[in-house]
Amino acid sequence: MAEETWESDAPDVSARIAAEALIVDVEGYEGPLDLLLTLARTQKVDLRRISVLGLAEQYLAFVETARVLRMELAADYLVMAAWLAFLKSRLLLPPDLSEDGPSGDELAAHLAFQLERLEAMREAAARLMARDQKGRDVFVRGVPEDVTRIRRVRYTATLLDLMQAYARVRTRDDFRPYAFDRSDVFTMEEALERMRGLIGFAGEWAALETFLPDGWHADPRRRRSATASTFAAVLELAKEGRVELRQADTFAPIQLRRKEP
């Protein structure tokens, strides 16, 4: 089918020769769009009036020639060929309204736009490079004098910052921050205060554990902290002569009761 295309659609001998000349230079193209643009130029018309159908045929002929000449074309050139074959069929066949997607004309218009845009960018690039360039046409000072940069840092602080800093430093000893999470710490002071309230009710021997506050039994850390502080508080109370302590054996439960005055 491609062969037929070549036979029947080749516009004329000169185009054929041109196509062969293009082939030799295949390495020189910046991709299929670049090749298309080059082919389009051979139509010698304004890109806006280009025959996209003709262009598609030129391209397909190019690819076919390359095949005949056993030249390897990169995959994207072949993908373009397939797409152009599809476009060609869309352009030639009457529009199928049941089919989704853009019409052949829309696709062709977009291709023409892309070619025109690429050409415009090429021209813009050429104009840009032709400008007077620094270091080629226009020169900067040959001996830039040493511009010493003195980097100075200005720190900001207000009087309020200063005073608060001082206040912070001077009062730090009053409440030295604890390095651990206090929510799991039951302090000796807390235990002591609690035990002072409870001791009056402890007429009978009772295990130390029973005096732990609610919510401090389950979690091991909390239990440990509460036990330690309660024990310390009880020792303090024993020293004051307000409780009696006993322990049946090493590691046996500690029991306590109110010491009658």
Partner: protein
């Protein structure tokens, strides 16, 4: 902060300010912004005014005061370039791909890689972008607010300096290209890109394109 009291130290006369701007611009190879000039000059100076005077003074001279983006510098007059060719340090020859990519970024900025690929019809090699970045002619712009948030490229002040442009607005033929709709980011019909072109998703295609950068 209080060391310079404007009532105590009046700004120097304008002629003196002009000398100062002259000295600063002469000394630096990099263009200097008005803000930088102001920071260096005595308090109360008006570098803009001094610059205008200086620019006029050097009109037609062997060196000129040129504007580069929002900065200023001295450059030799282009017609005298032939005398100075000896100074040229051969800049690495840019590939065709690099030149085209540069032009596309300049005219379409901020431009994503996908947009560049769509226009050129081939993928942009990493080396091309790296070369332009290294040259200091492009830099990363803001990411596009489209799916994937792709990075964008914009041209730099160094680019403007290189090509003698006051701003990206002065790119040759920009108006004509825009009027012809060639800077429009026209999505492929049906969202179906050309093979070989970058895969531009439709969301990407409704980018603001070139107009964005011209907002002050």
């Amino acid at each position: 902060m209080t060391e310079r009291d404007p009532t105590l130290f009046a700004a120097p006369p304008l002629a003196e300010q002009e000398r100062m701007v002259e000295a600063i611009l002469f000394a630096t190879a990099e263009p200097v912004t008005v803000a930088e000039l102001e920071a260096r000059m005595p308090h109360g100076s008006d570098p803009s005014e001094a610059l205008a005077m200086l620019r006029k003074r050097y009109e037609g001279r062997g060196v000129r005061v040129v504007k580069v983006g929002d900065a200023w510098g001295f450059r030799t007059a282009p017609d005298l370039g032939f005398l100075l060719q000896k100074e040229t340090v051969e800049t690495r020859k840019l590939s065709r791909a690099a030149i085209e990519t540069l032009a596309i970024i300049a005219y379409h900025q901020p431009a994503t890689r996908a947009e560049i690929e769509e226009i050129r019809g081939v993928s942009v090699s990493r080396g091309t972008v790296d070369q332009l970045l290294e040259q200091g002619w492009i830099r990363f712009g803001r990411r596009k607010m489209t799916p994937g948030r792709p990075v964008t490229y914009v041209v730099t002040q160094e680019f403007l300096d290189q090509f003698g442009l006051e701003s990206a607005r002065d790119l040759p033929g920009l108006k004509e290209l825009r009027a012809a709709g060639l800077l429009d980011n026209r999505p492929p019909p049906g969202g179906e890109g050309l093979p070989g072109g970058g895969e531009v998703d439709e969301e990407d295609a409704d980018g603001l394109g070139q107009s964005e950068m011209f907002e002050e």
